[in-house]
Structure formats: structure tokens, C-alpha cells
């Protein structure tokens, strides 16, 4: 991708993608129908991928689409459709203290988020074109297989254990001659 | 009676399936280039085998006169009761009667050929014409002239060849 000539264009797209991401994320949690929630989540992933692309990390952006929008969300949809969930069932509240706790935790989370963003603001301008995540897959791959080789392998081992666990739990007792 | 169930035991080479797939594809490709059996219907008509019982015709003699003597044998023999005729005094000296009107209701006709067998004069016959659909029910009640026209179409036995010559297919 050629370097941005006018910051205006990239600003325009950033605002577009950011608004889309936030808007569809809000839409996702406010939907009653789980399938529509999933669809809005897909749109969120897309918008985030667009933001990655604007940060000159095309590899990351495409992988975001392939892995999250293309694979995980399809599985989500599969499960939703398989269970044939229609409308969300509203559970009754267990008194006012529940609301209070929820509000408290939400406020703490929001505070953390705001603090994090404020702390990160000074580094915003230097984001594009730097770091291992920019460009194609090569720098990312090099990092994963050199510096972060142990976390990487451990993560894959954990996933393997999860897969084996799922297979063991999901296996049916079949008759012997089968 | 003892039946020994034998499960299909594929040879290890069958387990690749690809060779079988390729074999099948060769077969379909061979057919791709083979002669096609489609008959281009309205232009080319499938010639029916001898003895086919199709549309009915009224035969004529060498002088172009109808052979029918209005004896009503055919309408008596007809199991579907689709033949009606009105007899009149023949204008020709060699017979007494001839049909003034002769109608076959092809909506009722079952093309059984009993009329042809009953006719003492060989005046009524079934032909090889099988494509006589019509747009209205009235069009399928055939009068004397329509039946005589069928004779003109089929008397030389070249009904199917002619349709092919006309379209050039």
C-alpha cells in the first residue's frame, strides 16, 4: 500500500471504521436475537480489520478476517443454528444489590479503559509503519519462532489439550463391532 | 436356505478412489463425443415402427372417391363410441350408400383399431401420425374432410420423410 499522501483520506477511513466498530459492537450486545448479534460481531471484526489495515498491518488485518470473521464466527453461527436459539430469555433479577454490583463493576471497567486510553494517547501518532505487526507475515513469523517461541508452543499445546479433551468428552460409547 | 452375508471388501488400491474417479471421467468424456440420440422433434419426427396405431384416416380409391359405404360396422365395433355418421344415397353407381357426414371424436377415441378390423371395405385405417394435438377441443372432433386429408398425408408411406425434407434437417 502506498504511503498516505493526505492524512485526510486515512482519517476519513479511520473514523468510518472506528464508528462502524463501536456502533456494531453496541448493536451486537443490544440485539435480542443471537444470530443478529453474531452478524454485528462479524461487522465489528471487519471494522477492526480495516483499522489494522490503516495502521499498515495488512497481514494482521487479513488474519483477523480469516480467523475471527471467517472461522470462529461461522462456528458460532453453526452452534446458534444447531441449538436453534431464537430470542434471548430474560432471567429475573435477584434484587437491587445485583444491579448495584453490576453498575459498580461496569464503572471500574470503564475507568480502567479510559485510563488505559489516556496513557496510550502520546504513542498514537507513532503507530503506523512500526513494529513487527506491520507489513507482511515475515516479521511476525520471525518473532513468533524466535523471541516468542515458548509462549507460541505453549499456546499450541494448550489448544491441543483442549482439542483432545473435547474429543474425549464428546466421544460416544460405540458398540465393539463398530 | 442359508445366506452368507459378505461385506464389500475394497482392495487397498480401491481405497484411493482417484483411479475410479478418473475411470468414470474417461467414460463421460467418451460419451461427450459420441453420437447424440436427440431427435429435433418438430422438424424431425421419430418414425414409428410398422403397425403403429395412430390417427385415423378414411381411405380413397384410385379415382379419389372415398371407399366408405356407410355400413356403420366401425361405429358398432367402436368401444369408445366415438364414430358417428350420417348415410346418404351414393352419387356413384357402384354402391348404394356413402357417408354424408363422418365424424370421429378424437377426444374419446382410444386408438384401439377395432374400426379398422371391422371395416369390410378397408375404408378406415389407423396411420403412423402421432402428433395431432390441438388448441381447442372442437379441433379434435374430426369431420370427413379432415379424415380424408389424413389419407393424402400418409398414402405414400412417406409421412416422416416428407417432414424431414420440408425442414431440411
Amino acid at each position: 500500500m502506498p504511503a498516505f499522501e493526505g492524512i485526510n483520506m486515512s482519517w476519513f477511513f479511520f473514523i468510518l471504521f472506528a464508528a462502524l466498530a463501536v456502533g456494531s459492537a453496541i448493536a451486537m450486545i443490544s440485539q435480542k436475537n443471537p444470530v443478529y448479534s453474531a452478524v454485528f460481531l462479524i461487522i465489528t471484526f471487519f471494522a477492526v480489520a480495516g483499522c489494522y489495515y490503516l495502521l499498515q498491518a495488512p497481514f494482521l488485518s487479513i488474519v483477523q478476517i480469516i480467523v475471527y470473521a471467517g472461522a470462529i464466527m461461522v462456528l458460532f453461527l453453526f452452534v446458534i443454528m444447531l441449538l436453534n436459539l431464537r430470542k434471548e430469555i430474560r432471567l429475573p433479577l435477584h434484587g437491587p444489590w445485583q444491579v448495584a454490583f453490576a453498575a459498580l463493576f461496569a464503572a471500574i471497567l470503564l475507568l480502567q479503559l479510559v485510563m488505559f486510553i489516556l496513557a496510550a494517547v502520546p504513542t498514537f501518532h507513532s503507530a503506523p509503519g512500526h513494529g513487527a505487526l506491520s507489513g507482511g507475515g515475515e516479521p511476525l513469523g520471525l518473532l513468533l519462532f524466535t523471541k516468542y517461541i515458548y509462549p507460541f508452543e505453549i499456546a499450541s499445546l494448550v489448544l491441543l489439550v483442549a482439542i483432545i479433551g473435547a474429543v474425549v468428552l464428546g466421544r460416544k460409547k460405540l458398540p465393539k463391532e463398530f | 436356505m442359508s445366506v452368507k452375508p459378505v461385506a464389500y471388501q475394497p482392495h487397498w488400491s480401491d481405497r484411493f478412489y482417484l483411479f475410479a474417479v478418473l475411470k468414470g471421467m474417461v467414460i463421460t468424456l467418451k460419451h461427450f463425443f459420441k453420437k447424440k440420440y436427440t431427435v429435433q422433434y418438430p422438424e424431425v419426427k421419430w418414425p414409428v415402427p410398422k403397425g403403429h396405431r395412430g390417427a385415423i384416416r378414411l381411405n380413397k380409391d384410385e379415382q379419389g372417391r372415398m371407399l366408405c359405404v356407410a355400413c356403420e360396422m366401425c361405429s358398432t365395433a367402436c368401444p369408445a363410441k366415438c364414430i358417428t355418421m350420417k348415410a346418404a344415397v351414393s352419387p356413384w353407381p357402384d354402391r348404394e350408400k356413402y357417408p354424408l357426414t363422418f365424424e370421429i371424436n378424437m377426444l374419446r377415441c382410444i386408438l384401439c383399431g377395432m374400426c379398422q378390423e371391422a371395416c369390410p371395405e378397408k375404408a378406415i385405417e389407423l396411420t403412423e401420425i402421432y402428433d395431432f394435438s390441438a388448441y381447442t377441443r372442437q379441433d379434435l372432433i374430426w369431420d370427413r374432410e379432415r379424415l380424408l386429408k389424413n389419407y393424402d398425408l400418409t398414402c405414400d408411406g412417406r409421412y416422416f420423410e416428407r417432414s424431414r425434407e420440408e425442414t431440411g434437417l
Partner: protein, 349 residues
């Protein structure tokens, strides 16, 4: 995208419009070819009445689709029901934007590549789009709110996910050889010759990868023998049972466009793209450009015919057989292929 002048923009727009127009033209030809090839393989003639050799049959079909009554069943989920056909068609069309379909040449004082966008991550872009193509099918099946489409959508989602894995794994071998995700470099790698006689196409260096990719792409495009999401005998058409008129036609068009792009992708990845074997296109000037275009068309056409050929030869798989093939045969084979390629590269750099 930014920093281009009007001529660049004009060239780009021309390329986009040309690609879409040609895609739809081939789509029409495919619609006719499907019927005529199937007829020929069954010793029939097929539709040959509308226009010379029946060439205008697709137009007649299109008009028929346009004038069919548009029925929206009362139980459907409106929004997704209307969106789903477009979700099938758009990703399929987008895929073509990164496929190089001819040699680059210079005109208007600049280099013109016969490729809409040469993305750094072109190959991954295609996989992103392939993985998105399933949404139209799945959401269409769900939105119809009826049992057979739902089953079709379920099948589509599990089938696509299973075969995406094999497809992704099968091209890693190619990536290891080429060392780039850019499709133009994939094509450039395949020019030249192998053992002096063979063209250096990936089909010769990666035969196993090619086979896996080919089989999996049948599943990805919902073609027989893997058209389980729309099996007409058991699911009455599957995910598009409740669709009619132009919306149904869009599902159809999406399927065929996906077929075209998959064929073009197969050509690019394994048959050397626009490369003509044993010929140095660059030395031929503008004839070389035409030759490269023709080569690309012929190779893509071959794959399109192959898709038809296989469809009218093989019977449909059962769903458990499909899953068995995807997970227990193709995926392990793809991993073996990666290991073998790695070993080869390690021993003979």
C-alpha cells in the same frame, strides 16, 4: 489507493469494469455450458433453440428470472433474507480483484499490470473472502426460517470450515516454495522450466498440494460431488429452497462466479497463471500480452470444464463421508505435504 492521478484512476476503473463484465459474460457462458456439457455427456444435445447453437439461452433464462414472481414467505427474517443473496455474490466477485490475469505492459507512459490490486497479502485476502462466502449460504438458510434451508445452512457452515482448513494447508507448500503472498510473485515464480522439459508450474512441484486444493475447492464451491448444502433429493434445494425469482438467481450467479474465481485461482497457483510454457512472453511485445491473456483464459477454461465434467460424472457423497474425507484424509495429507516440502527445501536449497 492514495497518491494516484486521474489516468491511474481511469485505468483502475477500466480494469474493474472489465473484470466484472468478463466475469458476468463467463457466467452466462457457464450457465449454458453446464446444460450443454451435461447433455453431451448423457448423449443428448441440450438447449440449442434460442439463438445460434442456443447461445442466447442464458439471456432467455435471465429474462425469465426477472419476470418470475418475487415471493417473500411470511415466516422469514426479512433483513438477512434480503441480504443473503448479495453476501453470496459479492465475496465471489471480489476475489478476482487480486488475481493477475495477464502480463503487464506499458501504455500512457506507465506500467499497466493486468491485475486490479497486487496486495502484499493477496493469497490471504482470497482466503478471507473464501471464508466469508459461507455467510450468504448460512444466513440465507437461517433467515428462511424453514427446516430444509436450516439444514442446508448447517451443512454449509460445517462443510466450509472443514474444507477451508485443507485448502489453507494445501497451499502452504506453494507459499514455502514461492516465499511470498503476492499473487504476481507466485506467477513470476512459475515462469521458466523444470528439468529443462517441464514448465516450472506448481502442479509439477506440488502435485499433492494441487490435488488437495482441487478436491477441497469442489467442497468450497458447493459443487457436486460435495453439494450437500443444496442436495435436491434430501433437502429440496437446501439453503435456497425459500428463495424465488432474482434472489434465487443471485445465489446461482454467486455459485458460478465462485466457480470462475476458483478456476482462476487454481490456474494462478498451480498452472503458472498467464505463463505460456517454453515461450518468453516479454520478448514478443504486445503479442506476448495477448498470448498471456489467452493462456490464462485457456487454463481457467480447462478448470471450468473440469468442474462440469466432475459434476456430471460423480454421484454425491454422504455427509459423513464428506467429513471423513476432509478431516481424516485431506488434512493429514496436506500436513504431510508441508513436511515433505519443508524437508525438500531443507535438503536442496
Amino acid at each position: 489507493m492514495f497518491g494516484m492521478d486521474w489516468i491511474d484512476l481511469g485505468i483502475l476503473l477500466t480494469k474493474v469494469m472489465l473484470v466484472i463484465a468478463v466475469n458476468f459474460l463467463i457466467l452466462m457462458i457457464m450457465e449454458l455450458a453446464e446444460r450443454r456439457v451435461s447433455a453431451f455427456m448423457q448423449d443428448r444435445v441440450g438447449p440449442n433453440r434460442v439463438g445460434p447453437f442456443g447461445l442466447l439461452q442464458p439471456v432467455a433464462d435471465g429474462i425469465k428470472f426477472l419476470f418470475k414472481e418475487e415471493i417473500t414467505p411470511s415466516q422469514v427474517e426479512r433483513t438477512l433474507y434480503w441480504l443473503a443473496p448479495a453476501l453470496v455474490l459479492v465475496p465471489a466477485l471480489l476475489t478476482f480483484s487480486v488475481i493477475p490475469f495477464g502480463m503487464s505492459f506499458s501504455a500512457f507512459g506507465r506500467e499497466i499490470t493486468l491485475q486490479i490490486a497486487d496486495l502484499q497479502v493477496g493469497l490471504l485476502f482470497i482466503f478471507a473472502l473464501v471464508s466469508l462466502a459461507v455467510y450468504g449460504t448460512v444466513l440465507g438458510g437461517w433467515a428462511a426460517n424453514s427446516k430444509y434451508p436450516l439444514l442446508g445452512g448447517l451443512r454449509a457452515s460445517s462443510q466450509m470450515i472443514s474444507y477451508e482448513l485443507s485448502i489453507g494447508m494445501s497451499i502452504i507448500g506453494v507459499l514455502m516454495l514461492v516465499g511470498s503472498l503476492r499473487l504476481s510473485e507466485v506467477v513470476a515464480y512459475q515462469t521458466g522450466s523444470l528439468f529443462t522439459i517441464l514448465p516450472r508450474w506448481n502442479i509439477f512441484t506440488q502435485p499433492l498440494g494441487f490435488l488437495i486444493f482441487l478436491i477441497a475447492s469442489f467442497a468450497e464451491t458447493n459443487r457436486l460431488p460435495f453439494d450437500l448444502p443444496e442436495t435436491e433429493p434430501e433437502l429440496v434445494g437446501g439453503y435456497h429452497t425459500e428463495y424465488s425469482s432474482m434472489k434465487f438467481a443471485m445465489f446461482f450467479m454467486g455459485e458460478y462466479i465462485a466457480l470462475i474465481t476458483t478456476s482462476a485461482l487454481l490456474t494462478t497457483l498451480f498452472l503458472g497463471g498467464w505463463d505460456v510454457p517454453w515461450v518468453d512472453e516479454a520478448a514478443l511485445g504486445s503479442w506476448g500480452v495477448l498470448l498471456s491473456l489467452a493462456a490464462f483464459a485457456v487454463k481457467t477454461g480447462f478448470f471450468l470444464f473440469l468442474f462440469l465434467w466432475v459434476r456430471w460424472t460423480l454421484p454425491r457423497f454422504r455427509f459423513d463421508q464428506l467429513m471423513h474425507l476432509g478431516w481424516k484424509v485431506l488434512l493429514p495429507l496436506a500436513i504431510v505435504n508441508i513436511l515433505a516440502t519443508g524437508l525438500f527445501l531443507y535438503l536442496a536449497p
